[in-house]
């Protein structure tokens, strides 16, 4: 009994019964859709028409089509710019700057700032996109009123820039929280040692703060990169348009699979996206490991 690992003494049957509901849910909602996507990716399955009733096996055609499709490549390019600008630069830098500034202000100020930053994160995205609509609207928008820019159609003129700013605004709270706790772990005596020899803010950041929080920064970048890579919310603002100019990958897949009905093609691109996610995650984890050894 002792070496079969059955510490609780439940016996195989009852142990399985305990696990079954969770396994069932995982199978239905995770494993099956994943396998189904894999299957769809090698068929010409469509939302309607004859290919919906009788999907045909098309091998790697979908993947080859995707990789040679200008729309896909355009979308991949937009996604890379979007992720880099709004997550790696926008959320990280802004989140760190706020966290750093907040270590030097009084507690009430800090509480108020953190409250508002967090608010952007926790309000449902349908609500925040509506607020941004109101801000960026062409005829009655707040931004136009503030900047006296007349009837500037921000979402049409600068669609990618708009969703980059929007996503930075939404996601900064996470980086801010993570960096706040990271900064709290920097030993005060080391900061003071640097101050004692006359180190300015930049030298303190370079010599004390950054080396201490590098691990946190990597984790943060990994998480927000993946989240931003997969986010669909900008669809609510620009729907990928105009003219595909904000057509990041998740939106591209959605429009391709559900608007155009090309489910097989969409599934293939989803898989490509998963592979990209895995590559990003692996690279970051490697970097993290290197740090530790």
């Amino acid at each position: 009994m002792a070496d079969d690992g059955d510490v609780a003494g439940l016996g195989k049957a009852r142990a399985t019964a305990f696990l079954a509901p969770a396994l069932l849910l995982i199978s239905v909602f995770l494993v099956f859709p994943a396998l189904w996507t894999l299957y769809l990716g090698v068929t010409n399955f469509r939302l309607s028409g004859s290919a919906a009733r009788n999907p045909k096996f098309v091998g790697l055609d979908n993947y080859i089509n995707a990789l040679s499709d200008d729309r896909f490549l355009n979308s991949l390019g937009l996604t890379i710019v979007f992720v880099f600008a709004s997550a790696v630069v926008g959320q990280s830098v802004l989140g760190f700057s706020i966290a750093w500034t907040m270590t030097r202000v009084r507690k009430p100020v800090r509480a108020v700032v953190e409250f508002f930053v967090l608010l952007a994160w926790i309000i449902p995205s349908s609500v925040t996109t509506f607020l941004w609509y109101a801000l960026l609207d062409r005829s009655n928008g707040t931004l136009n009123a503030m900047l006296s820019t007349g009837h500037m159609a921000w979402l049409l003129q600068y669609p990618l820039q708009s969703i980059i700013v929007f996503n930075t605004w939404v996601g900064t709270a996470f980086s801010m929280l993570l960096f706040s706790s990271a900064l709290a772990s920097v030993p005060p005596s080391q900061m003071e040692s640097a101050r004692m020899v006359g180190a300015g803010t930049w030298a303190q950041l370079r010599d004390v703060v950054f080396p201490h929080i590098r691990g946190h920064a990597l984790t943060n970048t990994l998480l927000i990169t993946l989240w931003t890579f997969n986010t669909f919310t900008p669809y609510l603002l620009t729907a990928g348009g105009p003219d595909d100019r904000s057509n990041i990958l998740p939106i591209f897949i959605y429009r391709l699979a559900l608007n155009d009905g090309a489910l097989g093609q969409g599934a293939a691109i989803s898989l490509i996206m998963i592979v990209i996610n895995l590559v990003i995650a692996t690279v970051y984890l490697r970097l993290l490991k290197e740090r530790k050894s």
Binding site: S189, S193, V197, A203
Partner: protein, 359 residues
């Protein structure tokens, strides 16, 4: 090289608590100076205020002929060694030592030379390429000292320099520290709660309590002539016996016994005055037969200190115990009647406020 002068220095925290209360201290050029007191007495606050890490509420600080009260820490030409050493874990020992020079934008080559030079002086040769995490506590402390030395400051500030070392290493480090300070001749202020450390290291000691200065003096003065009962009981490895008594017929009546008036208080205590009679356990002795001017009592506890024995004696007709350090050969059974004897030139008298009577 510089002296340090504080003038009515006050550090008040939000809520009105005074960490440092009206401090007037002058620390002489080249002096090894201790700030001693129990935790929460404000000694570390005073040190940090001198360093510039805390802003003073009022009063002023001068280092040498410079007014530094409102200067940034980095402009005061002061180096501080923190209790946890505060070495940068990601930098090599050489980089840690020469960090002040990096901030002063000294070239890499010169920094390296300086690190080797200063590291050599503090017996850190061969460790310069390592990281702080690979060093023992004693070595880490020497690195922290080396970093302080390499900035060529006017003043060193040490926050509890020995408290992170184990007991055996502490003695070694203490001797090392004293020699280093003597060699460098740099004015040094250190904070400690350990009276033995303060007595052993310092040229002069400031004893603090609740942000206020209690006594300022050489180790000898603080040990032999404590200004009040607080200093008397805080300084000394076994606290001074402080017995309540009354002056009667040129003697101090304590319980059923009477002891001679301390020499220093001769002629200064009025008849019938309530006083506290102070005597260090080391300066007392016991006799096994009655003697004039001794305190009668019986042994309740006997503690072996190695080369000596610490006896706790319950006095007849008095509710305070008295402690006596006797030679290692004398080990009376519990309950033995003893007579505690004292020398008038070794005892002290304090008034009802706790202040010492006489000089």
């Amino acid at each position: 090289m510089a002296s340090i002068t504080t003038n009515s220095l006050v550090k008040e925290y939000p809520g009105g608590v005074r960490g440092v209360d009206e401090m007037d201290v002058t620390i002489n050029d080249g002096e090894f100076f201790a700030l001693l007191g129990p935790s929460g007495c404000g000694k570390t606050t005073l040190l940090r205020t001198i360093a510039g890490l805390e802003k003073s509420t009022s009063g002023s600080i001068r280092i040498g002929d410079r007014e530094v009260t409102n200067l940034e820490p980095g402009q005061r030409r002061v180096a501080m060694v923190f209790q946890d050493y505060a070495l940068f874990p990601h930098m090599s020992i050489a980089d840690n030592i020469s960090y002040p020079l990096k901030i002063q934008k000294v070239s890499k080559q010169e920094r390296r030379t300086s690190a080797e030079d200063v590291g050599g002086k503090l017996s850190l040769q061969g460790l310069l390429e390592r990281r702080p995490g690979q060093l023992s506590g004693g070595q880490q402390q020497r690195v922290a000292l080396a970093r302080a030395v390499s900035s060529r400051p006017d003043v060193f500030l040490f926050d509890e320099p020995l408290s992170n070392l184990d007991a055996r290493l502490r003695l070694e480090a203490r001797t090392f520290l004293k020699k280093l300070q003597l060699d460098l001749g740099v004015t040094t202020v250190f904070v400690t709660h350990d009276q033995a450390e303060a007595l052993a290291l310092a040229d002069r000691i400031a004893v603090m309590r609740s942000g206020k200065l209690q006594q300022l003096g050489t180790p000898r003065e603080v040990f032999q002539r404590p200004a009040n009962t607080f200093v008397a009981s805080f300084v000394g490895s076994t606290p001074m016996n402080l017995l309540e008594g009354t002056v009667r017929d040129g003697q101090v009546q304590i319980g059923n016994s009477a002891v001679p008036l301390p020499q220093s208080a001769a002629g200064l205590a009025g008849e019938g005055q309530t006083v506290t009679w102070g005597a260090r356990p080391e300066y007392l002795d016991v006799a096994t037969s009655t003697k004039a001017g001794s305190l009668a009592g019986s042994v309740t506890v006997s503690e072996n200190l190695g080369a000596a024995v610490l006896l706790t004696v319950q006095l007849d007709g008095h509710d305070q115990d008295v402690q006596v350090v006797v030679g290692e050969d004398f080990e009376p059974a519990i309950g033995t009647s003893v007579w505690v004897t004292s020398e008038p030139r070794r005892t002290l008298l304090f008034d009802s406020e706790g202040l010492r009577i006489g000089d």
